[in-house]
Amino acid sequence: MARTLLRHPFLVDRNRLLLLLGAAALALVVVAVVVSFGSGGGSDSSASTAATTSATTSPATLFAGLPQRGDTVGKASAPASLLVYEDPKCPYCREWDLDTLPTVVRDYVRTGRIRLTYRGIAILGGNSVIGLRANYGAAPQSKLWNMVVAMYERQGDERTNWITVPVITDAAKAIGANPEQLLKDADSKAVTAMIEASQAEAASRGINQTPSFVVERPLTQPVELNVTGLDPDSFTATLDQALR
């Protein structure tokens, strides 16, 4: 093959060389244009949302004024519940919570269309269980959802045991919870029961990956969302379909 190329008189075939150079230049231009338009000039919508979330929406402001009780946030009169199955160490869950949850809270929870129910499940090992305990441990202080988001903001490499007491304490302080009380509650039998109930419910529904979402409404069968994307636009489109 190399010999064929070396023997070939391409050095004198200027037309092909010019064609090749033209192809290379055109390829560069096409890629530059596609990247430029496709990514919206270097920042896509989800990245913008994430940046906005980080910059302006702390867990406190995100849920400010919304009633929280146990694992649920939102008005009790909401006609539907969105059950969110998450693992504290799951990177996709972090993506959803930081990028899309603010939109869901603003457009669906605050408007009374749904309430959110946290279903913490551990699919990434024992360190995830510690994270679940921390999240559920914030429930008695009516700050479970704040804690969920605060923990995702501190998420480390999923292969490491990054969920430690200092991380939990830091997150608890950030959301205005009492860290000592949270740690005490995290170790309670009530929290153990909540985690076991959540795991059992997920198992009974065949949920073994996170994040997973189920819409529950009175007198109808629960509907698991077939989510095609975790960005706000894709997710809300799927949610709208389920709520029809």
Binding site: R16, A23, V30
Partner: protein, 133 residues
């Protein structure tokens, strides 16, 4: 003929990598990873272009180049070289993103970079040596 066969073989390798990454993208599962950064790369904004997974774009590109190996002539060679060169340019952009903004490297992306580089070299060689029909 040998060049076209070689291009086809490497395209099949590229299709394998791109297909795997496309599947894990839509399944929302973590790819098998020894470099430790695959998931970070996969969930970054650079993993999609206008909502389309870049892995899927790669899959289409490899399929097109593979298709050109089934056709003789300078035109097919030109199309193959053009798509491969575009692939190299785009892979370069993604490599920059991994080393820069993302701060993590994915073994599958590196495998793809190598594959598309070889495919581009072979398609260029083909374009320069393809007999005029």
């Amino acid at each position: 003929m040998r060049l076209r066969a070689a291009i086809a073989v490497f395209c099949v390798v590229g299709i394998g990598i791109a297909a795997y990454l496309t599947v894990v993208h839509y399944a929302h599962v973590a790819p098998v990873c020894v470099t430790g950064g695959c998931e970070k790369v996969q969930q970054s904004k650079y993993s999609e272009l206008a909502g389309v997974p870049v892995a899927l774009l790669g899959l289409v590109a490899y399929a097109v180049i593979l298709g050109t190996t089934l056709v003789r002539g300078v035109t097919a060679a030109f199309v193959g070289a053009f798509v491969a060169l575009a692939g190299v340019a785009f892979s370069g952009y993604l490599l920059w993103a991994q080393l820069g903004p993302i701060g993590a490297v994915c073994q599958w992306c590196l495998g793809n970079d190598l594959t598309i580089l070889v495919v581009a070299g072979l398609t260029i060689a083909r374009m320069l040596t393809e007999p005029t029909t």
